[in-house]
Symmetry: C2
Subunit: 484 residues, 2 copies
């Protein structure tokens, strides 16, 4: 294991996090929140010193394999979460360290599950940092490091593969670094557009920026207790619905648009399936809640579209408490949580493309039982999917459901009701945020025991990094000297 | 498609069902239930005539492939269920035909989900038939036909594979017919032993026989409203617990015992994992319910052992209403429902061996990410598992969870609570019977709409025949003349 390289990369990650945190420091200046200014300055200072120590000695070996890539990614996510928790804890905004860490991991993993019951009483700069973690975590920290630094020697694809979600990782352009730059350009571009449109709708600048962070990272932290529902504005709801859906799209589809490959864009398989699921779910739920929750269909479609977009993209903003909706709507939303957004987006969940691959594999399996000798390739966007990817996708789904099941059992020790227990795990591992019962959009995660909170934030990391990096970090075998 | 052969086999199946029903006819004589005597006689007469018509003309072609095997199995299960429902419907015991069919399918698939609220008011011969369907369905009707008739020309392995559960189907001896005979001998032998032990415990002969049917088939229909709890006997509970566990074991393990291969028996991987899960679950639940539901640990272990054995083997007998137990116990039982019994047993669920294969595949996948070039065979009982079986197992699990999810959505139209809705589907597709909420051990399935009942009995068939035969029967493509 190339520990020197891992140490160096972790140092770089801490440096960039310090730079990002500098923005919150500026916000604390602007709003005159001097206590927070001190907290941010101190945290940034510690991070810069640590980063200097870690990166001072250049690594001797430059060899860098998948194992190192996975460990670097999982380690650096744990490190940024630890430092990210500091402002919450040191400012006294969140008195318990475990709760601060929960909030920080929830932010970086773009989950948006909160232990806070009243966010409006917190400092603006603290809330700015809380939402900014979504934006940083959405695209990935190492991806940012990759975009900025030329990592000579180290193969950045190992990092990219471990940090960006989906069954396969393609580079948009031959160089991984250029790919990272393009992705960040798209990310920043759409984010700026959303801020602009929210401003036009009359949302204050500060609110527009933080809510864009939450939308872009598909996170869901709001600065209002009533989330987006607090604005009572159809325009704002429509803008955020549209942008949530946009950020749930595979970024390589946007790249096709930029490259003016409109035909390829329109025939992008995952995009079509993703949009179809979103639209059908919006309509089904709207019909289901008309007459029971809302009297008029236009009201129903307004609330169902926002909630479906929010859940499917794993954002977690709310304009209604879907826990009060009929059973069918609740189950459909729970399933959308598992389906999640597109591969290569900032969203969580299992990802639409994995379901497409499995659906095709199921169809092939049925035909294979009839004709054992028939060999048929599975294609996605007319490109054959490697058999290893198909098997890996099946295994991924089973291990994902398995971790969900085991986590649910462990959380059950708290003896809350079944709905709360199961939905908390589903909402955390799929990086949504709100669930049902006590963790519904009007509730929060504060009542869980420390043990349960630890399980839940491990689940958030497992969901964001797609199982294996965290499993390997937790496995004792990786730290042994022996070769695999 | 060889329709002649399929027709002939369906005719044989109907004939054997008529012979089986003859036993209920005798029971109706013994108890002087003349109305039922008439009903059974009439149904048997119709079945014999139909069987004669279907088997009169010998099929011209003897060629018989996987496609025909799957269709024969699924068709014959639908047919036996239809005729099996007749006694309930014609005797007026169950006034609605859909309800009668639900009860019959629930019987043959060894689910044990009932729409009856008071079974004790029904004729003894009707209840005898109801429980007997468990025993018939447990080992499989076609398996019985195979054991009795020499199917020259037709390859009986196609039938065996489609009807007997598990990721792979092995023949115990080179000839499939002999395998079927051995399996039935083991089945009858253990059943007789259970009847004997129940009689010793003071259970009446009739009760001993019907409850043995329910145990052997891992069905769960009882002739008492309070199920096995009605006897208030620790001895009877222990006997039934032990036999439920026995019937959840892979029958090829018993064959190893018969062949005096004790060492192979003790090292049988699925058996060891199966028994470990049963034991650990019994203890965990006993600890969880001590102090909350029961005061003393010996009471807790008494009720937890019975319920765990009943759920894990997918039987569904009850001595306690586990819906009243703490969240942890309820979730653990729900997970045991999915795990299910061993492959090659009469039990349902996904089967322990599939979980063993997937667990090994997950481990290998994690290692493969580290070392993409490493090739490692997955072994079960020291025999390499074919890559097709591994991929098939992943696909099977995903499609199984998928059908569970879609069925839950469809049942949700009834707008019952989430617990009832989800657990009804889980309890039906895994062939358990009782679930939570309205379908708890003290409830029943009568309140569901006709639409929901149809979904649920399709789920039961999908669970019993392990997805593909029923999926193919429902797919329009198979009935087209074109070749696959």
């Amino acid at each position: 294991m190339n520990f020197g390289m891992i140490k160096n990369l972790c140092g770089q990650v801490i440096r960039f996090e310090a730079i990002f945190m500098g923005l919150s420091l500026i916000v604390s200046f602007i709003y005159g929140e001097y206590e927070s200014t001190v907290v941010f300055s101190a945290t940034i200072a510690v991070m810069l010193v640590l980063s200097f120590i870690l990166t001072y000695k250049k690594p001797l070996k430059r060899s860098f394999y998948a194992k190192e890539g996975l460990i670097t990614v999982s380690l650096s996510w744990v490190i940024i979460s630890l430092f990210g928790a500091m402002p919450f804890f040191l400012s006294g905004s969140i008195p318990s360290f475990i709760d601060s860490l929960f909030e920080s991991i929830s932010g970086f993993t773009t989950t948006g599950a909160s232990i806070l019951s009243d966010v409006e009483m917190l400092d603006k700069s603290i809330l700015f940092w809380r939402s900014f973690t979504h934006w940083i975590g959405g695209m990935g920290v190492l991806m940012f490091v990759m975009a900025i630094l030329p990592l000579s020697g180290a193969d950045p694809l190992h990092l990219m593969r471990a940090e960006s979600p989906g069954p396969t990782t393609e580079k948009l352009v031959p160089k991984a670094r250029k790919t990272a730059i393009i992705l960040y350009k798209i990310y920043i571009g759409i984010s700026l557009l959303e801020i602009l449109l929210l401003l036009i709708g009359g949302m204050p600048l500060y609110d527009s920026i933080v809510h864009t962070f939450g939308t872009a990272g598909t996170g869901g932290f709001s600065v209002k207790n009533a989330s987006i529902g607090a604005y009572h504005s159809v325009y704002i709801e429509v803008v955020i619905t549209v942008f949530m859906v946009l950020f749930g799209i595979n970024f390589s589809a946007f790249f096709l648009l930029l490259a003016k490959k409109f035909k390829s864009f329109l025939s992008h398989e995952e995009l079509r399936v993703y949009l179809s699921i979103v639209l059908i779910s919006m309509i089904v739920i709207a019909v289901n809640i008309t007459g029971t929750v809302y009297q008029r269909f236009d009201e129903s479609i307004r609330y169902s579209s926002f909630q479906v977009a929010s859940i499917m993209t794993t954002t977690g903003y709310a304009t209604a408490n879907f826990d009060q909706w009929p059973t069918l709507s609740k189950f459909l939303l729970l399933m959308l949580m598992f389906i999640g957004a597109s591969a290569g987006s900032t969203g969580g969940g299992i990802k639409v493309s994995r379901f497409i691959i499995m659906f095709k594999a199921i169809k092939r399996q049925a035909l294979r039982i009839l004709h054992p000798s028939a060999v048929k390739l599975i294609k996605l966007d007319n490109i054959p999917v490697h058999e290893d990817v198909i098997r890996g996708t099946g295994v991924f789904m089973v291990v994902f459901f398995g971790i969900t099941a085991v986590s649910t059992l462990l959380i059950s020790f708290d003896a809350f009701d079944m709905k709360t227990t199961a939905s908390a795990v589903v909402a955390c591992i799929n990086n949504i945020g709100p669930g049902l019962g006590m963790v519904s959009p009007i509730g929060n995660y504060s009542s869980f025991s420390i043990f349960s909170k630890i399980i839940l934030f491990v689940d958030m990391l497992i969901g964001r990094l797609e199982v294996y990096p965290i499993l390997l970090l937790l496995s004792p075998a990786i730290w042994h000297k022996r070769k695999f």
